[in-house]
Amino acid sequence: MKIVVCIKQVPDTAHVRLDPETHTLKREGVESIINPFDLFALEAALRIREQAGGAIVALSMGPPQAAEVIKEAIGYGVDEGLLLSDRAFAGADTWATTAALAAAIGQMEDVDLIVCGKQAVDGDTAQVGPGIAQRLGRPQVAFVKAFREISGQRLVVERQMDDGFDVVDLPLPGLITVVREVGEPRPPSLKGKMRAKQYRVPVKGAADLGLAPEQVGLAGSYTQVVKVFAPQATGERRVLQGSAQETGAQAVDLLVDNQVILLGS
């Protein structure tokens, strides 16, 4: 089985801080990481390969330094990587992003399965997976949380829904996006990391994909960001003074007095 895993390099948003004065993002010293949800996609792909055999290609789009996430994926045990990088890709919304990713997958032969994380933590759109499936005309199941059957012809998966889950039969070739319940990502392996050190990441640009500049990046995007601002924080501040003993007791007293805590019977 040939599997493509889509991964994205993102800033580690858990460590992004907002400057309270200027309301801008402080990204100094914020590391770039593999989108955490994509680690679950990698894990799912590795498990499928363990059962069905075959090879995994890690695919990413981003600036040249995004080659790092491809190398990281090699460290986890994927077989090959491909980076889509071109100045023309900059500013892409999900429409333009899926144009490039789908074109790249379309150029590969005999891809049976595409695996994406459910969403990226910087954009949180969850739109790229379904967008690729539609562009390639393939069936999809989003938010897969478990596998019941794995074969070269089909997957039977559990799809997470808001009120439970569905068991869905997906004929291949197809696409899935996965959620964290699919399984804890394994650690990278020593042999994989050694291979990653040597690995030269192949890179393709818009022209290699047969895409015109107006089909990709900002020019190829339907949506446009017109304003960026800090979310509003509300609430008045009251800092309790005293030792830990005093403030702890004081907090309880205040909450009791204001009937936030009911002592009850």
Binding site: P11, T13, A14, V16, R17, L18, P20, L25, E28, P36, P63, A90, W95, T98, D122, G123, D124, T125, A126, Q127, P130, G131, A133, R135, P139, V141, V156, Q160, M161, D162, G164, D166, V168, D169, E214, L218, A219, S221, Y222, T223, V225, V226, V228, F229, A230, P231, E236, R237, R238, V239, L240, S243, A244, Q245, G248, D253, L255, V260, I261, L263
Partner: protein, 399 residues
């Protein structure tokens, strides 16, 4: 692609560096310099005192559909006959947008055995209901739902289409947007109309909730958005309100390739964060996973449930079901106690509407204090035991 800086006009004042949310600008030889992080948001253009910065106007293929598209649509999601709350919220918001634009509000309903469901949508504000009732739509399969929905859209050309940012909506709607070739904004928390240009201003959190972004879709139609549940207000319900029911027929060749074998109704999450009156949350300030024992103790004493920050969940200290924030649950309990929570904005968006917020943190500059009603600067391992003691004492007296 990046903003264009006129080096002649640039005075090197640095205003743009301050304004840039993405740190895409720097000063080199006293002139502003832009790097690849630029998203063309235009924040710098606005503040530049000399007009040295311009956002390049990108020529996009004009879409002749845009000019004539009319009407606001809501995708009325239903599963096994149950409609999530968000549909009513979408109709409420959709009604307001439609009135502002002076157009009809329509709902699209896909499924099987839908008799009588349309009346509910009319009561909630829909003028028109497009209803596709077919055995093949009984279960949710992305491809056939996409085929049918895209066909109805292409036929009637609405200018706006809203759907709930539910599991179903976030699986289906990106496919539909791709099928009809238009832009889509995910998980919106604010929607407004620019009446002049008939543009839908779609506001959503980005970067894990650290910033808010307003997004437009200038050319293509419909302007599509998925909307976060429990954010928009439902409209007034008018029993017996009438509307137009338009049946939609499927083509004989419409067929799903995926097959739903079983539908399991089960909420695995035992942690009822969203409904809890009291949430006691632990953050990285606990220092180690064992710290959740104390969090649990206080939660039990207060009759509440245990919440967690993304940092602690990612570190594996506690299960994801406990996570509060952008990528977890949104909560608004009567009392929210934040222990060792620094207050990354992605966390704040998930809890700042709580009635009462008590924060304990050793760092007096932690952002959590900016939303806390009661702040304690101190070691939670000393403060919490003091709280527990006081509670026990008061309860002892009360009994």
């Amino acid at each position: 692609m990046a903003v264009i800086i006129d080096k002649e006009l640039c005075t090197g004042c640095g205003e743009c560096l301050e304004a840039c949310p993405f740190e895409a600008l720097s000063l080199q030889d006293d002139k502003a310099q832009v790097n690849e992080a630029c998203t063309l948001c235009g924040a710098c253009e606005e503040v530049c005192p000399t007009g040295a910065i311009t956002v390049p106007q990108v020529e996009r293929a004009a879409d002749e559909r845009a000019a004539e598209a009319r009407g606001v649509w809501v995708f009325a999601e239903q599963r096994q006959g149950a409609m999530p709350e968000v549909v009513a919220e979408l109709l409420g918001q959709g009604r307001r947008l439609a009135d502002e634009l002076g157009v009809e509000l329509s709902a699209v309903l896909l499924g099987h055995g839908l008799d009588g469901r349309a009346a509910e949508l009319f009561a909630l504000g829909a003028d028109v209901v497009y209803q596709a009732d077919d055995e093949r739509l009984a279960a949710f399969n992305d491809d056939i739902y996409t085929q049918v929905l895209a066909r109805v859209i292409n036929e009637h050309r609405p200018e706006v289409l809203l759907a709930g940012a539910t599991s179903l909506g976030r699986s289906l709607i990106p496919r539909v947007a791709t099928a009809v070739a238009t832009g889509l904004t995910a998980d919106c928390t604010g929607l407004a109309i620019d009446p002049e240009k008939r543009l839908l201003l779609q506001t959503r959190p980005a970067f894990g909730g650290n910033i808010m972004a307003t997004i437009i879709c200038p050319q293509a139609r419909p302007q599509m958005a998925t909307v976060r549940p429990r954010v928009m207000k439902q409209g007034p319900r008018q029993e017996g309100r009438q509307g137009r029911l338009v049946p939609v027929e499927l083509n004989p060749q419409d067929q799903a390739r995926t097959q739903v074998l079983e539908v399991v109704r089960a909420l695995e999450e035992q942690v009822n964060l969203t409904g809890a009156e009291v949430v006691v949350t632990g953050g990285r300030g606990l220092g180690q996973p064992e710290g959740f024992a104390l969090v649990r103790k206080l939660a039990t004493a207060l009759g509440g449930v245990v919440g967690a920050t993304r940092g602690t969940v990612d570190a594996g200290w506690i299960g994801h079901a406990h996570q509060v924030g952008q990528t977890g649950r949104t909560v608004s309990p009567k009392l929210y106690v934040a222990l060792g929570v620094s207050g990354a904005v992605q966390h704040l968006v998930g809890m700042q509407s709580s009635d009462n917020i008590l924060a304990v943190n050793t760092d007096p500059n932690a952002p959590i204090f900016s939303v806390a009603h009661y702040g304690i600067v101190g070691n939670l391992y000393e403060v919490v035991p003091a709280m527990l003691d006081r509670l026990a004492e008061l309860r002892g007296q009360g009994a």
